[in-house]
Symmetry: C2
Subunit: 642 residues, 2 copies
C-alpha cells in the first residue's frame, strides 16, 4: 500500500475565513467556556473528587468522564489556535482532578470508582468504561500536543498500561471489548505519540475480538456482578446494536448504533493504516460504500432510526423522524478523513464536506450556546411536541437546546470545530492535498523547503478560490486540489494561465505537479449553480421530491419565510431558482428564491372528492445549517415536485 | 330529545348477499370454531378452572377472560343466524366453567382469582378487571338474547350486583373506574335486558367519575398492593391514555388509546340516550367531530400512533406506520351506530360504512383464520421486518396472522361480523331506516302491521339496489334510505315512477313517507364513479397524494400487480380510471385500471443531480380490504399525483 497521508499539525494552519472565522471564535470564546460551566454545574467535574455518597446530590453517571474529556480535547485544540492562560489553568485544574481520581492500579472512572466499584468491567456492553477511557486518552494526547505538558498523558498511559494487562488474548486476560467504541481510535493516537506498540496492539485486539463467538456481551451477562444499565430505554437485545453480531471482518454494512459504528470504523481504518492490513482496509471500504450508497442523508447525517439511534436498512431515510445524531456525523467525518488518508480519493472528502457544512455546522447556534442532538430533515413542531410528550423523544428537538442529560454532542461539536484546521489540508512527502476550501494560511515542509499556502475564498457561497504560494526556494511538489462532486464545471488558472483540468484530474483531485515558485498564484473557479438533488429510487421517503443544493450547502424551506403547513407546497419541475443576498443573524447569506404552488385549504372536511385548489406562491430557501434560528418553525429539505 | 332509534333484533334480519354471505358463512363455519380452538389451545378456557399454580403451564393473563367472552358473544350471534346444537353445547360448557369460576361474593376473573388475589381492584388502570367484566356481561346478554338461557346472565348479574356495591359515590365505595373501558356499554345492555336501573346508574357513575381530581389512577398507584402490569411496553405515564386527563364532559377531542376511547364514547352515548342527558350528547357530538374532521383514516381507521396505540394530534395520519387497530374501527362502528340512533343523521353511518367495508372487512382473511391487528395504509415489507426485529412492533404485520398474544382483535371481528344484521336497518315507531345496502330480508312491526323488506343488490360493486315490500295490510310509514356521502348522483323509482330525491332528503336520508302497499318496489341507483379522494390540507402525510374510492370501497395498489418499489409510482392529474372485472380469491372483484409513471432506477448513486427519468406504466388498484391476500407485498393507498 502506498504511503498513508497525514493530516497536518493544527498549529500549521491558521483559518481566516468569512464563513468560518466568526463561528470558530464563538466556539473558543463562548462554547468552550460555556461547556466548562455546564460540566461544573451538572457535577461532572466534582464527580472526579470521588466523594459522592449514596443519597448525595449529583450522582455520577457512567458517561460523565467522556464529556469532561471531550471538553478538555476541545480546549486543547483551542489553545493551539489561540493562547489563553486562564483556559489553560482551568484545564490543568481538571487534569489535577482526573489524576487524583486515578486508582493505584491505573484504573480511572468516576462512576465505577464511587458508585459501583464491584462492577468494574462487568458490563462492557452498557457501562461505557472503555468509552470514557477512550475519550480521556484522546484528550490527553490532544493536550500534550497542544501544550507539551505530559501530566495527563502520563496518567492515561498508566491507565492504558493497565488496560493492556486486563484485556487481551493471553491467559487470564479478558476477551472483552467496548460496548461503545472510541478507544480504538484513541489507542492509535496514544501509540503515535508514545510509539509504544502495545497500545496499537490493544486497539487491534479490540477490533479483531469483537463479534467472535461466543459473543463477549452474552458471556458477561451470565457472569457475576452484571448490571443492566437501563439508561437507554430503546436498548434492544441485539448484538448488531454494538456491531458485535459478527466478526468485524465479516461485516459488510454499516449497522447498529451509528455513533458506535462510525467510531469503530474510524478505529478500524486507523489500525489498518498503521498495521498495513489490506484485509481490514477492504472491510472499511465496503462499509463506507454501504453508508454512502444507501444509508446516508443528503445532509451527511447517518443513523436514521430514532429507536436505538441506529442505521436501519438500505434506502430507509425518513425525514421528519430522522435521528441523524450530530455525533454520528462527526464520527463519519473521522471515518472519511481516515479513508481519504488511505485511498487519497476525493469521494471521502466530498462526504466529509457534506457532513461538515450541513449537519455539524448547523448543530450549534450562532450564539454558541445551543445545540442540536438530532438533525431531522423535516420539522413539524406539533409532531415534535407530541412525540416529546407521548413517545419520550427528548433528544429530538425543534430548536437547539442548551444542554442534554446525555451530553455527548455539545463537547463533540466543540472539539470538531476547534480542530477544523486539521481537515483543510493533508500532505505526505512531496504531495499536498487541498481538501476544503476555507480561507487560511498553511505551512508545509517539503524536504528542507518551506511552502506556505495562502487560501482566499468566499466559499461556500462563492466558487472562486485563490491560492498564493510562498516558497523558501523553488520546489518540485504536487498540490492536489479537490474537485467537489457537486461542481458541474470548474476552471483553473496558474499565474493567469489556464490549466486543462480534465487532463490532470485523478480520483477527484486536480493534481498540479510543478516546480513551485515564490508568489505562484492558483485561481480556481467552481461553477456553483443551484442544483436539484434527487435521492435514489430505493429511498421511498424522498420519492417525488428533490432537495436544493448550491455548492456544498443543502437548503431548506422554513415556515418563517414561507408560511405554515409547508407540506402543502409543491414546486414545478421547470421552476427557475435565483440566488439572492440576504442578511440573516447578521450574516450575508445566499438565499434561493423560486416559485411554487400552495394547496388552498379545503375547509373543515377531512376528505374531499375529485379535486383541490392551488395558488402560486413565491418561496425562499435558506441553508439547512441556518434553520431553526428564527424561532420555532416548520422546516423541510425535500420538496415535493409537481 | 326525539325518540331514540333502536337497532332491530338480529333474528329479524336475514342476510343474502353476494358480497357478504360467503364471508359471514366463513365467520360462522370457520372463524368461530377456529377461535374456540385458539382459546382452548392457549389456556384461556382452562384458566377458568382456577387451578393454575405458580410455575404451572399457561399462566393466566389479565386479558384472557375478555377474549373468551367475545368468542361467546360471537357464537351467540351466530346461533341466531344459524342454529347449531354442537356449538351451543360448546358455549354451554364454557359458561359452566365461567359460572364455576365465580367467587361467593360474585367476583369473577380467572387471572386475579388464581394469580393475584390480593390485587383485586388495586390497579384499575392496567389490570383490565372491569374490561373483562364488561365483555363477559356483553356476552351474557347476547347469549340470553340468542337462546333465552339465563344461567350466564344470572352469573353476570351477580357480578354486576357486586360491582354496584364496590363502586359508587357512596360512603365506603370505590371512586374508581376502568382503565380499559367497555363495561359502560355492557352495563347499559344489562340494564336494557333486566330493566334494573342500578346497572345504568353504575355505567353513568363510571362515565361521570372519570378524570375527576384527584385522578383515581394516581390515588391507586400510591395505595397498597398496587402492581404495575408492564404488558404494554409503550405505556406512558399520562392519564389521557385512559381518557382520564379531565372529566369526560370537559373532553372535546378524541384522545388516548383509541379502543379505550371509542368504547368509552359508545358507552357515553348509551348512557346519554338512556338518561336523556343532553349535555353528554353534546360532548359525544363534539368528540365525534374531532375524530371525523381531523383524526380518522380514509379507511375508517382510528388511533394513528403505534406508540401507545392512540389518537395522536389533529391531521396526524401517517400511512406506513399507521396503527389503526381493528378493534378501534369496530369501536368506532359502535359509537357511530349509537350516535346515529340519537341524531338520525347519515354522517354517522357513512363513517360506519367506511370502517366496515375497508378496515374491518379487510382485517380477516377469506379463509377466516388470519387476522390483522393493525391496518396500515402503506406497506413496505423491509420496513415492517426491520421494525418488527428492532423496534418490537409485533402487532403490526405485513400479512394476516393466525393469532396474537394479545388477542383482542380476532374475536372482536367475529362478533362484529356475526352481528352484521344489526347494522343494516334501524326503526322506531313508524320510521324505518335503511342504513346499509346489503342483500337481505328484514321484518318490522309498525303497530300491528307487519312489513317485510326484501333488499337485493350487488353493492358495494354496483350502485343499484332494489327493495320489495310485503305488508300484511297497507300501512303509513316512512322508510328512510341513506344517501351515501360518496355518491355524486342518485335516482330513485317507486313502482317504476321517479322520485325527486332532493325534495325528500333530510340529514342524508331519502325519506319516503307513503302508504306502503304490498309488492311496492323501490329502485335506487347510486352513481358509482371512481373518485379521487384528497385529504384535508392539515394531513401532511397525504399532501400531493390522492386515494382511489369507488362506492364505499377505498382502493390500493399492490406490488403483486404493479411491481416493487411502489413509491416510485406517480399518477398524472388527468389520468382516466376504468373499472374492470377480475377474479381474485375466487371472487368477482371490480378492479381499477389506470396509467401512471414510474421512476427509472438511477443506478448506484444515492443522490443524483438535476433530473431523473420516468416511464409510462399501466397500473391496477384493488379494494383495500383485499390487500395482502396474495403473498407478502408492498401496498399503498395514497398515490402520488404528478
Amino acid at each position: 500500500m502506498s504511503k498513508i497521508l497525514r493530516q497536518i499539525d493544527l498549529q500549521n494552519v491558521e483559518i481566516e475565513d468569512k464563513f468560518w472565522s466568526g463561528r470558530l471564535e464563538t466556539n473558543i470564546n463562548v462554547t468552550i467556556p460555556f461547556e466548562y460551566k455546564q460540566c461544573k454545574r451538572t457535577g461532572r467535574l466534582d464527580a472526579l473528587k470521588l466523594d459522592w455518597k449514596e443519597g448525595g446530590k449529583n450522582k455520577p453517571h457512567i458517561y460523565w468522564d467522556s464529556d469532561t474529556a471531550k471538553w478538555i480535547e476541545a480546549a486543547a485544540y483551542s489553545l493551539v489556535v489561540k493562547k489563553d492562560c486562564s483556559l489553560e489553568r482551568k484545564v490543568d485544574g481538571v487534569i489535577d482532578l482526573i489524576a487524583s481520581a486515578q486508582q493505584s492500579d491505573g484504573y480511572l472512572n468516576s462512576y465505577f470508582t464511587t458508585v459501583a466499584p464491584q462492577k468494574r468491567f462487568k458490563n462492557l456492553r452498557d457501562g461505557h468504561e472503555l468509552y470514557c477511557a477512550g475519550h480521556l486518552i484522546e484528550a490527553a494526547v490532544a493536550y500534550y500536543n497542544a501544550t507539551g505538558k505530559d501530566k495527563f498523558l502520563n496518567v492515561m498511559c498508566r491507565y492504558a498500561d493497565y488496560l493492556t494487562e486486563v484485556f487481551g488474548s493471553g491467559r487470564g486476560q479478558m476477551k472483552g471489548y467496548p460496548g461503545h467504541q472510541v478507544i480504538e481510535m484513541a489507542l492509535v493516537k496514544l501509540y503515535k505519540v508514545t510509539a509504544n506498540g502495545k497500545y496499537l496492539q490493544l486497539a487491534k485486539f479490540f477490533v479483531d475480538q469483537r463479534g467472535n463467538s461466543p459473543v463477549w456481551f452474552e458471556q458477561e451477562r451470565l457472569g457475576g456482578n452484571f448490571e443492566r444499565f437501563n439508561s437507554d430505554k430503546h436498548y434492544v437485545e441485539d448484538f448488531s446494536y454494538n456491531q458485535a453480531h459478527k466478526p468485524v471482518r465479516q461485516q459488510d454494512k454499516a449497522d447498529g448504533h451509528a455513533v458506535r459504528a462510525c467510531y469503530m470504523y474510524s478505529g478500524m481504518a486507523d489500525v489498518a493504516a498503521e498495521t498495513n492490513d489490506r484485509d481490514l482496509i477492504r472491510v472499511c471500504r465496503k462499509i463506507w460504500d454501504s453508508i454512502t450508497i444507501a444509508r446516508m442523508y443528503v445532509t451527511g447525517g447517518v443513523g436514521s432510526a430514532y429507536y436505538s439511534e441506529r442505521f436501519s436498512f438500505d434506502g430507509d431515510l425518513p425525514n421528519e423522524t430522522a435521528y441523524s445524531e450530530t455525533c454520528a456525523s462527526i464520527a463519519l467525518i473521522f471515518f472519511a478523513q481516515r479513508m481519504f488518508n488511505i485511498d487519497k480519493d476525493s469521494r471521502y472528502i466530498d462526504v466529509l464536506e457534506k457532513a461538515l457544512y450541513n449537519t455539524v455546522c448547523g448543530s450549534v447556534s450562532f450564539d454558541g450556546m445551543h445545540f442540536f442532538y438530532a438533525n431531522p430533515l423535516e420539522e413539524y413542531p406539533p409532531a415534535r411536541e407530541y412525540r416529546g410528550k407521548y413517545e419520550n423523544e427528548n433528544h429530538v428537538q425543534s430548536v437547539r437546546q442548551e444542554w442534554y442529560d446525555t451530553a455527548c454532542c455539545p463537547p463533540n461539536i466543540a472539539r470538531l470545530l476547534a480542530s477544523l484546521g486539521n481537515y483543510v489540508y493533508a500532505h505526505s512527502g512531496k504531495d499536498i492535498y487541498v481538501n476544503l476550501y476555507i480561507g487560511s494560511k498553511a505551512d508545509f515542509e517539503i524536504g528542507s523547503t518551506h511552502i506556505s499556502l495562502h487560501q482566499k475564498t468566499n466559499y461556500p457561497y462563492e466558487g472562486k478560490v485563490v491560492f498564493n504560494a510562498k516558497v523558501s526556494e523553488p520546489v518540485k511538489s504536487t498540490i492536489a486540489f479537490r474537485l467537489p462532486e457537486w461542481c458541474p464545471r470548474a476552471t483553473m488558472k496558474i499565474n493567469a494561465k489556464s490549466v486543462n483540468i480534465k487532463e490532470c484530474t485523478t480520483k477527484g483531485y486536480i493534481r498540479v505537479s510543478r516546480l513551485w515558485q515564490n508568489n505562484d498564484k492558483v485561481e480556481l473557479v467552481f461553477d456553483m449553480p443551484v442544483r436539484k438533488v434527487y435521492a435514489n429510487s430505493i429511498v421511498r421517503q424522498d420519492a417525488g421530491r428533490f432537495a436544493i443544493q448550491r455548492g456544498p450547502l443543502i437548503y431548506c424551506i422554513e415556515s418563517v419565510d414561507n408560511g405554515k403547513f409547508l407540506s402543502n407546497i409543491a414546486v414545478d419541475k421547470n421552476t427557475k431558482f435565483t440566488v439572492a443576498n440576504k442578511r440573516i443573524l447578521g450574516q450575508a447569506i445566499s438565499v434561493i428564491n423560486f416559485s411554487g404552488k400552495r394547496r388552498i385549504d379545503s375547509g373543515k372536511k377531512l376528505y374531499v372528492y375529485d379535486s383541490i385548489k392551488e395558488k402560486k406562491v413565491c418561496l425562499r430557501a435558506i441553508p439547512f445549517y441556518l434553520r431553526a434560528n428564527r424561532g420555532l418553525a416548520e422546516m423541510m429539505v425535500w420538496l415535493r415536485e409537481c
